[in-house]
């Protein structure tokens, strides 16, 4: 009788038990999520190094440009506003690390949940996953808004210069 109930629960689509296929998929997902988060951390580190050496790199690029007779007004403008640009990039990297931390925790907690059959870890894993998607989405929306604002500002300043 017990095995009949057990069999019924396996084939009942409303059962609240995770399936073997789900756990297999989660296992693979956790491994790739961990890989992606580590790569993202490394890229953030490289970005941080670049941001901290930003003014030096720009000055070098300006020097090369001047020596070859190819002056770049965009580079000059960026060099004039280097503190603002540095703070902007630092904020961007900070946000990327914060968001990526959710993915890293998701991968770690999901692996723990599957390895030790830990329901608490499973709940935390998917909470981190939803936070990761939510904050990534908010960052994307913010990026799109800033992008269009920049275009409008650029076109407006061109129009002002022309007028």
């Amino acid at each position: 009788m017990e095995s009949l109930d057990h069999n019924f629960q396996q084939h009942n689509p409303n059962a609240s038990e995770t399936t073997w296929q789900m756990r297999q998929d989660w296992h693979t997902t956790a491994r790739w999520a961990r890989f992606l988060s580590i790569v993202s951390f490394v890229l953030s580190g490289i970005g941080l190094l670049f941001t901290l050496g930003f003014s030096t790199v720009l000055e070098q690029m300006m020097a090369i440009g001047n020596s070859t007779g190819m002056e770049n007004p965009m580079l000059e403008a960026m060099l004039n506003e280097k503190s603002i640009v540095t703070v902007f990039f630092l904020l961007l990297i900070g946000a990327q690390v914060a968001v990526n931390l959710f993915q890293f925790r998701f991968a770690g907690r999901l692996k723990d949940a599957l390895q030790f059959t830990d329901q608490q870890a499973l709940e935390e894993a998917w909470l981190n996953f939803s936070n990761f998607f939510k904050w990534s989405g908010i960052m994307v929306i913010a990026f799109i808004v800033v992008y269009f604002a920049f275009i409008i500002f650029f076109v407006a300043s061109l129009a002002t210069m022309g007028g």
């Binding site: 609240s16 073997w20 992606l36 709940e123 998917w126």
Partner: protein
Amino acid sequence: MDNLNQPLDADLPEAGGKQSGLRITPSLRQNWHIASRWGLFFAVLGFLYLGLLAFMLLSVAGLGTVGAGNFGGAEIAVLIFMMLFVGAFVFIPTWFMFQFSQKIQRGVSSNDVQATQTGFTFLRRFYQFVGILLAIVLGMYALIFLLMLFGLMMR
């Protein structure tokens, strides 16, 4: 005497192993629902990008038929090929993300374990695809770096 009313596979373990003891709770469903909604947002963004790409593709193809500017047939063919290439690499993860969000939303709203399971299969495929693509790109960067280093040493 043996109980002959049992199903044939009653004494076999669940496919692939024992039952895990991990359960689908209301808070898990809620988090999946939130994630699937944002997943749909990412998928829509991906499809919008593909739409823009298709528009550019048609414009470039139009340029090719008119024969405008300095572009020759070969350059336009290369451009079209590159756009199709990029489009394919954007479409696949976008489709996986779209399927993930659709299946999870259906699974969560109607308590359908099969749909939820399919949703997670698409999420796994999405992560696999992006991960492998990233590994290939990183490998190519490493190769270029090594070749540059080799070139500098040979000077």
